[in-house]
Chain length 217, copies 2
DNA sequence: GCCGAACCGTAACGTACGGTACGGTTGTTT
DNA sequence: AAACAACCGTACCGTACGTTACGGTTCGGC
């Protein structure tokens, strides 16, 4: 059953075969970066270039579909806002932090962000917008309710949830993402990721934790 | 007087004429991004392509020389470590923060980081390494002595200067750089930059300021 | 005034790659 | 079994662009 790029845009996701192709593009993107050729994609995915063009329109369409496909694969564990105490909030923040660190340090994320950054420089700003929307902004949308629940529970104090989120974001990511994107070889073991998540969470709580008793700053 | 790319690598910088060419590349890079062509550079700089190749070797050499040229233009105001008190340290940190925010939000920085990120994905990792070295790491080398002076003066408390610097970096940059690189249009007025610098500095002091009297966290 | 080096402007070359066309194969419908 | 759609593999086309080559101009040295 033929499914055009337009149909993919507005309807149900790619077919199984198309997903295979997009996964091949992902792998190729990690290996070769933005200089992957349509020929290489066709060869890797064992499909014809004609099919690629029929399904995805052109090279940019293929890259866009790939980015969306990868973004769709990222699923998150929701947080229950009931019975929130300091321990639960701390665990939640740590989990967000470690998840995020693992995402931005993954090969696929690095490769995808690289092509998105490259495309943001040209007229084709779509890729950057998608990555931003499904990455940074999606994280904010998921984390802000947690922060606000913490505030309602009297655990956190802040004026603006967006600002508070950005502080947390900075404490977690620091210079990791830009260094990775620029080619710095950072080794991030699981232990280090968890340690960084703990540190970032503690720092955030030190800044925005509710002041109780003599802990006034 | 002819000056080959090799001579430029190991010796005195580019000649005045070559600087004009590199400035033209910079402007073109801001306008067109990585898809600038050698023909466009030659036309913009009013020089021949033959000269470009004689001076810079090839396209990558031209881009490398451009990145180094821009990096060389960034100069910093040193900080005197004598008579350091909290006010002086605060002012110093705020200045670092606002300077850095202005750098990473400038058109040239964004354009340069974009091409560097793109090149970091291919075999040509040079550009990324240069940007990293003259950007993030240069900032760290300049800031760490300030932090250590603050610690010696009893104003700051931290174990590792590198870790403390990265915390400050995160508090300052937050999500700004990645958003700009991905094409997000962020408006950063001078007032906002200064305000962010103050906020980041206060947050850093809250985390690493020496505990005096009843201010224990 | 003459010579050569450096350089400009432009034309030309080679190639890599995006995009298209086409013959052959498989699987499905009638 | 005939017809047809979807698809694979490959050959092909057009073009953009990196790189080179060349004629003409400026300029410093003798």
């Amino acid at each position: 059953m033929l499914q055009t790029a337009i149909e993919m845009m507005e309807g149900d996701g790619p077919t199984a075969r198309q997903q295979d192709v997009l996964d091949a593009v992902l792998r190729l993107l990690v290996e070769e970066g933005d200089r992957l050729t349509m020929t290489a994609v066709a060869r890797r995915a064992s499909c014809s270039k004609e099919t690629l063009y029929k399904w995805f329109g052109d090279r940019d369409g293929l890259l866009t579909a790939t980015v969306q496909w990868q973004a769709a694969k990222v699923r998150v564990t929701p947080v229950d806002r009931k019975g929130l105490d300091l321990a639960a909030l701390t665990a939640s923040l740590q989990r967000f932090a470690s998840d995020w660190l693992r995402v931005i340090s993954s090969d696929t994320s690095i490769a995808l962000n690289r092509v998105a950054v490259g495309h943001a420089g040209s007229d084709k700003r779509d890729l950057g917008a998608i990555v931003l929307e499904r990455g940074r902004f999606a994280l904010g949308r998921r984390l802000k309710p947690v922060l606000e629940a913490g505030r309602e529970a009297g655990i956190l104090e802040f004026d603006d949830a967006e600002t508070a989120f950005r502080t947390f974001f900075g404490l977690v990511a620091r210079d990791v993402q830009i260094r990775l994107l620029l080619g710095d070889r950072i080794e991030l073991t699981d232990a280090e990721v968890d340690g960084d998540a703990v540190r970032a969470t503690q720092q955030f709580l030190a800044l925005h934790g509710a002041k109780t008793g003599p802990k006034a700053l």
